[in-house]
Symmetry: C2
Subunit: 368 residues, 2 copies
């Protein structure tokens, strides 16, 4: 029930349309992150109002708390969190590595202790699929092994082998026809491993492909080079999702290399920390220079925060440690990312993406 | 420009209408508390949506941070905080006692150290009026002296004398015709002192009167007795405001004694702590019994929280320490207080307040 249509291209940049059981997603798209069944600090009606098309949930977090069976009992993740649009769930592979202590990984499963209560938890590829089918999301991800940046070549090769093996098992276990299962290409900065992984996953004919293991410590140059080579290995008629990336300039650069889908915690995390994204670059609202500034955060931003409040008020909210500060700035920052993606889509449609990219990088700094 | 119209009575309970420069307020009314220029966790558009008619600000807090001059520069408190309806500001007398360390109070002024940065601050009656005129709120309060519960009779008498003296000075200093200045009756549980204070303030012909020094440690019986006697001392054609009170049952009991206006931090404070108000009594959302409960918090509540989410989801949000939990529960709790007041107004209009009170007290427990 999920399909992808490539509408037009501009260089390597792609303008596409992803149709899911819960709605249509225009790509390139940014997916606000709702790890624990809520995009931090935002109401679903606010997400709708600022034009969010699809949000993310996290298999690892939701399986540990409140539990996939509970969410299924409550009618699935959409109903549980009050979001009627499409949802993609990450498989939990990354979180097993980054959050859970005393883990053991072999070909059978990832075994780890919950970061919440220390309970022992075994995640097999089949279990990752089962959980995501219980959650009932539109797009599920295969369980992958995502070793840290700098892992030695032998260990990295083993992880890629396991990621391929697990992708096969996920594919075999997956049942729900109203849910698309995407494969995840790993391989760190090793282009040969990336190529091997991509070829194996493409042979499995997934309806979409993710690039994992980016933004984990590599330099911007490494990321760009690997990204360009990896994207080229993926079929043109399937959506391409760059997991966990990133800053506005990273997104523009990745779109320039043919990526369609993004997620990142930066807009909400920075929003909670008084850091705003604007088209003119970042703004730190705690800085004293904003204390008496009656201007809105961003003049042409149509979000509720920018329509109603001054920088002076936002500065005051953060100084006074008021919840409304994180709420308003998270709202603005997510709205900024969504505006950025709309501008990117428009530029691609108009065949002006190269110019858009040039202007963006001049504003935010060139990372390539 | 502010006027009060007594529309009808039912026993001692009163149905009134307060007209202010920023809009009409139907009484009895509950005023959500926006101490630091924000009702904690709620957007102004949410306050509007749930029918808030007037909100509170606090002179003490706003004078210390961000400063009344800054708010004036930003166009006044309404514009600063994005609330277009009426605002009442408390004078700061209570906060000087409850928050600020190393204070000294004499007939001239209250001198205290800021609880934020320790800076020395002098608050005279004239200064309290000046600050509130800078804030530009619809209703300002006289500076009063509010000694703690249990203060010895001599000291209490001195505080009442000073409250009267300061009320005279506030009245003399007050200039803004688009702002009403209310007097505050103090006197603790001493009915003679309450009577003396009320008589002196009534002679000054304020457009409204507050009863201060309640809910500071006295028993429910003491409060009810003093409240009944004190309300009777106030002119029938002026609004009566019971400061900082209280629980739903306290409000019903105070309306039964002729009070028109209320404020209290309970709905937002309890909301942040996972405690919900409902017509059937309080609910603690962290309790395990809510873990798998697909029912809304309150079945007939039209607020966004109750329309969209289950108790199971709210339980999850608090267990996962997600901001959305406090946001949604603060919204529901304030909406609950506003619904309670609407039901009270309707009962008075219908001449059925005695019955309403009886039913309410049977639900929530009889305090009298």
């Amino acid at each position: 029930m999920t399909s992808f249509q490539l509408l037009s291209t501009d260089g390597l940049a792609r303008r596409g349309r992803l149709t899911t059981p819960h709605g249509v997603v225009e790509t390139p798209v940014f997916m606000p992150v709702g790890t624990q069944a809520t995009v931090k600090g935002l109401l679903p009606e606010q997400l709708e109002a600022i034009g969010a098309q699809i949000v993310l949930g996290n298999t690892y977090h939701l399986a540990l708390r409140p539990g996939a069976d509970l969410i299924a009992e409550m009618g699935g993740l959409h109903r549980f969190m009050g979001w009627t649009g499409p949802i993609l769930t990450d498989s939990g592979g990354y979180q097993v590595y980054s959050l859970a202590p005393t883990r053991r990984i072999d070909d059978h499963a990832a075994v780890f202790r919950s970061h919440i209560d220390g309970a022992l938890f075994e995640l097999t590829p089949e279990k990752a699929v089962e959980i995501q089918e219980q959650l009932g999301t539109d797009i599920a991800m295969c369980l992958d092994e995502c070793p840290p940046f700098g892992t030695d070549p032998g260990r990295l090769k083993e992880a890629v082998g396991r990621t391929i093996h697990w992708a096969e098992r996920c594919r075999a276990a997956h049942r729900r026809e109203d849910q698309a299962l995407f494969g995840i290409v790993q391989g760190g900065t090793d282009l040969e491993l990336r190529g091997k992984c991509a070829a194996a996953l493409v042979a499995l004919e997934f309806p979409g492909y993710a690039l994992g293991g980016f933004s984990v410590g590599e330099t911007a140059e490494q990321m760009t080079a690997v990204l360009e080579a990896s994207a080229a290995l993926l079929p043109a008629d399937k959506p391409r999702y760059l997991m966990g990336v990133g800053r506005p300039q990273d997104i523009v650069e990745a779109v320039a290399r043919g990526i369609d889908m993004f997620d990142c915690v930066l807009p909400t995390r920075n929003g909670r920390n008084a850091q705003a994204f604007t088209m003119d670059g970042p703004i730190r609202l705690r800085n004293a220079c904003h204390k008496r500034d009656s201007a809105p955060l961003e003049v042409n931003c149509p979000c509720y925060c920018c329509r109603k409040f001054s920088r002076a008020y936002l500065h005051h909210l953060f100084q006074a440690d008021e919840m409304l500060g994180p709420m308003l700035l998270s709202l603005h920052n997510v709205a900024f990312y969504l505006r950025l993606m709309a501008a990117i889509r428009q530029a691609i449609e108009a065949g002006e993406f190269a110019r858009f990219r040039e202007v963006s990088l001049a504003r935010w700094g060139d990372r390539t």
